[in-house]
């Protein structure tokens, strides 16, 4: 047993009391819930779950367990306060009872399975952040993971591009997904003393004010990582949100979302130790943009791009490319997707295709990265879709299949390419018999 047990039970009682209120909360909100009762905010286009940063080790001292809870709570607040600028967001700090593990797959199935209120609806998006904590001497090491998706009609759906290749007297419709919608970050080091200081300074910095003015004295949020603090943002005016606690605990007032780099709140920020939180912010801007279909208000593409660039700029300033190739590669692909959506001209497509090529160079072991680069290669500046290009496309897609034989998108693309070969033999590197056999193999593979 740990010192956090009693507060945890108390927190659960408070949480259950507040649950009904949370379900009806507006589109800007934050809360804390047990993993087994994970639920999203109905009106929020973009939801964030922070799952426990669990201690992985054999000496689970009360101090280490407290540190892991402290980190989860701080990460939740940090992400939430970054997200507020996007509007239509909800953030939930999910906690696990002592000795239990909060299973990410279980949480996803809980909220994406059309189970009524609290489940994701079509078009809603979710970011899930979780992590691990291990120690070496006086140092703590924190490793973060991020998974993100948009709810489709039948569950989580991958972010997809429709690619039309025209040329050689023919047209070809293909598709491509992001290289990945989840990523592991490298472990970061923070001393126990620094973690304690972050917590204290966070408390001081998180101030709600009676007026929308940073010069007006305010009251500090009583942030305690071990105690539930359900609250909602019931009004939003510009960059300011009215923070309203749902229980009798905590003050109400205006708080300003972090909108600009200059809003960085100083040395208290956990981002100084965990630059991946900037990465999460950038991904959030991308997903907020993707959650643009009714009933969710569309977010400004320009603002999303600016926020994305700002988040990635901060991350890239802290983490060199050589130390995080997959994170850099995914960032390039995300940029490419935004470019693709924003500019449908040939030049726009060429720029996006160039970004996808760079993403693939950073992530050669990802089948979806190879697929994305392959299907958009004919759109790069100076490229054409002709017979050699058509032959090359088939070969590159087979390369993607080598890394993920069950990838439905790659299989579908290959089937379409082979159909093109069958319909227009002058574009095919194979004779008719070989093409037919290949079509049969793909068909059998796709149904397995």
């Amino acid at each position: 047993m740990t010192p956090t047990v009693a507060p945890f039970k108390l927190a659960l009682v408070r949480l259950l009391l507040a649950l009904a209120a949370i379900a009806a909360m507006p589109a800007y909100a934050g809360s804390m819930l047990p993993c087994s009762q994970a639920r999203v905010f109905t009106g929020a286009a973009l939801n964030s779950f922070v799952l426990p940063y669990r201690y992985v080790g054999e000496r689970a001292t009360p101090e280490l367990l407290q540190a892991s809870r402290q980190i989860s709570a701080l990460v939740h607040f940090e992400i939430l306060f970054n997200l507020l600028k996007y509007g239509g967001v909800g953030g939930t700090d999910l906690v696990a009872p002592p000795g239990e593990i909060c299973d990410v797959d279980f949480v996803v199935s809980q909220v994406s399975g059309d189970k009524g209120p609290g489940s994701l609806v079509n078009g809603q998006t979710l970011l899930i952040t979780w992590g691990r904590l291990f120690e070496e001497g006086d140092q703590l090491y924190i490793q973060s993971y991020l998974r993100f998706f948009r709810q489709g009609p039948k569950g989580p759906m991958p972010e997809t591009l429709a690619v039309h290749l025209a040329g050689a007297g023919s047209g070809l419709n293909l598709s491509a997904t992001l290289p990945a919608q989840a990523i592991a970050f490298a472990p970061r080091r923070i001393s126990r003393a620094d973690l304690a200081r972050v917590t204290e300074e966070f408390k001081r910095a998180m101030v709600v004010r009676p007026q929308k003015d940073l010069n007006v004295p305010g009251q500090s949020i009583d942030f305690r990582h071990e105690v539930a603090f359900p609250y909602g943002v019931t009004r939003a005016e510009g960059d300011w949100m009215w923070l309203q606690p749902l229980t009798s605990v905590g003050p109400a007032g205006w708080v300003r979302a972090r909108v600009r780099d200059s809003d960085e709140a100083g040395s208290w920020s956990l981002r100084r130790w965990l630059p991946e939180l900037d990465y999460v912010d950038a991904v959030a801007s991308f997903m907020r943009l993707r959650a643009g279909s009714p009933p969710f208000a569309r977010y400004s593409p320009e603002r999303a791009r600016d926020a994305f660039d700002a988040g990635m700029r901060r991350f890239e300033a802290a983490v060199p490319a050589a130390e995080a190739p997959a994170a850099y590669g995914l960032a390039r692909a995300l940029r490419g997707f935004m470019q693709w959506e924003a500019d449908t001209s040939n030049e726009g497509r060429a720029k996006a295709a160039e970004l996808f090529k760079e993403a693939q160079a950073d992530m050669p072991e990802y089948a979806a990265a190879r697929n994305l680069a392959a299907v958009t290669r004919p759109l790069r500046a100076g490229a054409t879709f002709d017979a050699p290009s058509s032959a090359r496309l088939g070969s590159e897609l087979v390369g993607a299949l080598a890394l993920a034989p069950g990838d439905a998108v790659v299989l579908d693309n290959l089937q379409r390419v082979y159909k093109l070969y069958a319909d227009r033999p002058q574009l095919s590197p194979f004779d008719a018999r070989e093409v037919k056999q290949r079509q049969q193999v793909i068909k059998a593979g796709a149904t397995r």
């Binding site: 291990f134 060199p320 993607a400």
Partner: protein
């Protein structure tokens, strides 16, 4: 200082400074995980006083390295499991292989193979202090690809059985710790995929073998690009060729083994779409 250990003589010279010495080298048994999971041994490296002040410091480092690498649960949650096979990392306290790998006699390798060990990782660790006071660690790591060494002991393959790589902090932006130094570039993943792919190939599990060998090839290619010309790069290039040749064998194996009851030449496996001359598909244009 870029600490490099270009040869056995230098390695032993460094080891003379170590708390763990060449004379102490021994191969204590280590516990494997149960099948069907496969095992990677994390053995104890030799180290200088500049690397760790006490054996307790080494112990703390090894514990953390183990925790860091053994992240199967989180990989599954990332949907990033690329192998469909459970690979677990095991710490081997007191097991200190010699740097030249001569402890790995054929009978020992055979036993390890029988226990499902894919890879053993060890080496030597050192550090120096830069003029600005920054501590710069360096590592000279060894990787025994057990299934590959097993085949080499039987003259069934000519692959380089004992890759070694130097890691220097100068390549990093900030002073990293040893674990970051060793794990950042995913060499361990590349070697696990190579060893696993080769083992599966020998077990005629061609599709899974091919997938792992192509994954290994992609990771090794990425590693090669960041290495300067020299011994380390040559080793990685050589392993790439090995993985590619094994991937070709996987394709040929599937072609030669049609589905039960089907006439020769029947194609059902997606592997039959691959070109044996380019077994992992065509490289994307630069």
């Amino acid at each position: 200082m870029n600490v490099r250990l270009p040869g056995h003589a230098t390695a032993c010279a460094l080891l003379a400074l170590c708390l763990s010495t060449c004379a102490r080298a021994e191969l204590k048994p280590c516990q494997s995980v149960r099948a069907p999971a496969f095992t990677v041994y994390l053995s104890e490296p030799a180290f200088t006083r500049e690397a760790f002040k006490t054996p307790d410091d080494l112990d703390a480092f090894m514990t953390r390295l183990h925790r860091q690498l053994d992240d199967g649960r989180d990989r599954r949650w990332l949907n990033a499991s690329t192998t469909d096979v459970d690979v677990r990392f095991v710490r081997c306290p007191g097991r200190v292989p010699s740097l030249d790998g001569e402890d790995f006699r054929p009978d020992i390798v055979e036993t390890m193979r029988g226990q499902g060990v894919l890879l053993e990782v060890w080496g030597s660790l050192d550090a120096r202090t830069a003029a600005d006071g920054t501590r710069l660690p360096s590592a000279d790591m060894r990787f025994l690809l057990v299934p590959v060494r097993f085949a080499a002991d039987r003259n069934e393959t000519a692959a380089p059985p004992l890759p070694r790589l130097d890691y220097v902090a100068a390549a990093f932006s900030a002073a990293p710790d040893f674990a970051a130094l060793i794990t950042a570039q995913r060499e361990v993943d590349a070697f696990v995929a190579t060893a696993l792919g080769f083992k599966l190939l020998r077990e005629r599990r061609y599709e899974l073998a091919h997938r792992n060998l192509c994954l290994a090839g992609a990771l090794l290619k990425k590693i090669e690009k960041r290495l300067p010309p020299g011994r380390d790069r040559d080793v990685v290039v050589s392993l790439q060729s090995f993985a590619q040749a094994a991937a070709t064998s996987a394709i040929q194996g599937v072609v030669a083994q049609p589905p039960a009851g089907a006439p020769p030449g029947t194609r059902s496996s997606l592997l039959t779409l691959q070109n044996p001359k380019e077994p992992c598909g065509q490289e994307l244009e630069p």
